[in-house]
């Protein structure tokens, strides 16, 4: 965790220097962001996009830090990734989840990989399509197992399609994403994987719609369907976001997150703030 944190700080310092480095071969605001599990995406949902502005002749190095605070819980996610030749993304992220009223937290490490299978988010006729995996492992077994999960590590596999339509909404650019994820993670894995005696892997649908009001500002919404494996009920996630992308090295997103019931506490709503940087 500490190493990743130092790494992220170093990256973020570099970004603010606004240096031109490996890749700026994509159009501004078309690289997407990094979502809460470390994959290139929106905020909650992984997209087909690879973070960073590398084209097929370039690479990029990316980092993000996201903070979510809802009524009874908070989550901090931090991570870094590389995108190689706009083809392969490798990511690592650390999540730290805690109850506001209590001490201690649940920590999870997520290692991810994604391959772009087809297309260009803007220029191909059909959407850009990517296939990804996210392997998650909890640091401590106790809470997940006590809540009735089968495992303390698990793997999600997802396929995502993303497209930008130039000028599609009375002249504004439209972006949409649809993702199907094969998962058994309870609350993203923070409450373990599967339920007692049942692996529980199933398909979940996730999607995003956004409008780019100029070259630097995007507004939209996300939806993430969630499984409901253990006794404590779990509900679908929703968010409405505003993203500001001043340059190709930095982005900041503020969202209102509606995360439903989490570990016995209902109607968990609150703020999501994320900064991302890329070189």
């Amino acid at each position: 965790m500490k190493k990743i944190r130092i790494l992220a700080v170093v990256f973020i310092c570099l970004f603010t220097a606004n240096t031109t480095f490996a890749g700026d071969g994509k159009l501004i605001a078309t690289a997407g962001l990094i979502q809460v599990e470390g994959a290139g995406g929106g905020g909650l949902v992984p997209w087909a996009t690879l973070p960073g502005y590398d084209s097929r002749d370039e690479y990029s190095v990316n980092a993000f830090s996201s903070y979510v605070t809802v009524d009874d819980y908070k989550l901090h996610a931090l991570g870094a990734s590389v995108s190689l030749y706009d083809r392969v993304e490798l990511s690592v992220a650390q999540q730290s989840f805690s109850i506001k009223a209590g001490a201690g937290d649940i920590e999870q490490t997520i290692v991810g990989a994604k391959v772009r299978l087809y297309g260009d988010v803007i220029f191909s006729r059909w959407p850009q399509v990517s296939l990804g995996v996210l392997h998650k492992s909890l640091k401590d077994d106790a809470i997940a197992l006590a809540l009735g999960a089968q495992d303390t590590s698990g793997t999600d596999v997802y396929i995502a399609a993303t497209k930008v339509h130039l000028g599609a909404v009375s002249g504004y650019n439209l972006v949409w994403n649809a993702t199907v994820r094969y998962t058994n993670a309870n609350q993203m894995g923070l409450l373990g994987f599967g339920s007692v005696n049942d692996d529980s892997h199933e398909l979940m649908l996730e999607c995003t719609v956004g409008v780019l009001f100029n070259r630097h500002l995007a507004v939209g919404g996300e939806f993430r369907q969630k499984p409901d494996n253990i006794a404590l009920p779990e509900e679908d996630w929703k968010a409405a976001f505003v993203t500001y992308i001043p340059n190709k090295n930095f982005n900041i997103t503020v969202a209102y997150a509606m995360l439903g019931s989490i570990a016995g506490a209902d109607d968990q709503n609150g703020l999501y703030v994320s900064i991302g940087g890329t070189l």
Binding site: G25, L27, G167, A168, V169, G171, N214, R215, F223
Partner: protein, 142 residues
């Protein structure tokens, strides 16, 4: 799943809005400001090329006046204006240049600069870019 329905409805409304606006009788050519403005964009683009270390080599030795002339015709035709493009095909023009993906995207960035400097509104810029985007495959790695 209610939120997902709302997202889909929002998407449908947004696309519906654009469908209405695109059935209007004004052409993109008019919206851009006619031939004068299109020529200004073409001239601005040449200036952008001249200042760009990556793009300049592609155009070194080419006839600038002819380039402005043909590009003006091309944009005019693409935007449904009263012109006929008399230059060579996009494939012919760019064959041998071996334009990379990142240089193509840079070209789009420079085009946006050229349109910004000509005072073309953001939404009109996007509409023109949308019409030019399909020619990308004729220009890359040839």
């Amino acid at each position: 799943m209610k939120f997902i329905q709302q997202l889909i409805i929002l998407l449908a409304i947004l696309l519906g809005l654009s469908a209405c606006s695109s059935t209007s009788t004004t052409t993109l050519y008019d919206e851009l400001g006619g031939e004068t403005k299109i020529r200004e964009i073409a001239e601005n683009l040449v200036l952008e090329f001249e200042m760009d270390e990556y793009i300049l080599p592609y155009y070194e030795g080419s006839d600038i006046n002819r380039f402005v002339e043909k590009l003006t015709e091309y944009i005019c035709e693409v935007a449904d204006g009263p012109c006929v493009y008399t230059g060579r095909s996009m494939v012919d023009v760019h064959t041998g240049m071996n334009i990379t993906e990142s240089h193509y995207n840079r070209l789009v960035d420079l085009s946006i600069n050229a349109m910004d400097k000509a005072g073309i509104p953001h939404r009109t810029q996007n509409k023109l870019l949308a019409r030019l985007a399909p020619t990308r495959k004729d220009m890359l790695y040839r």
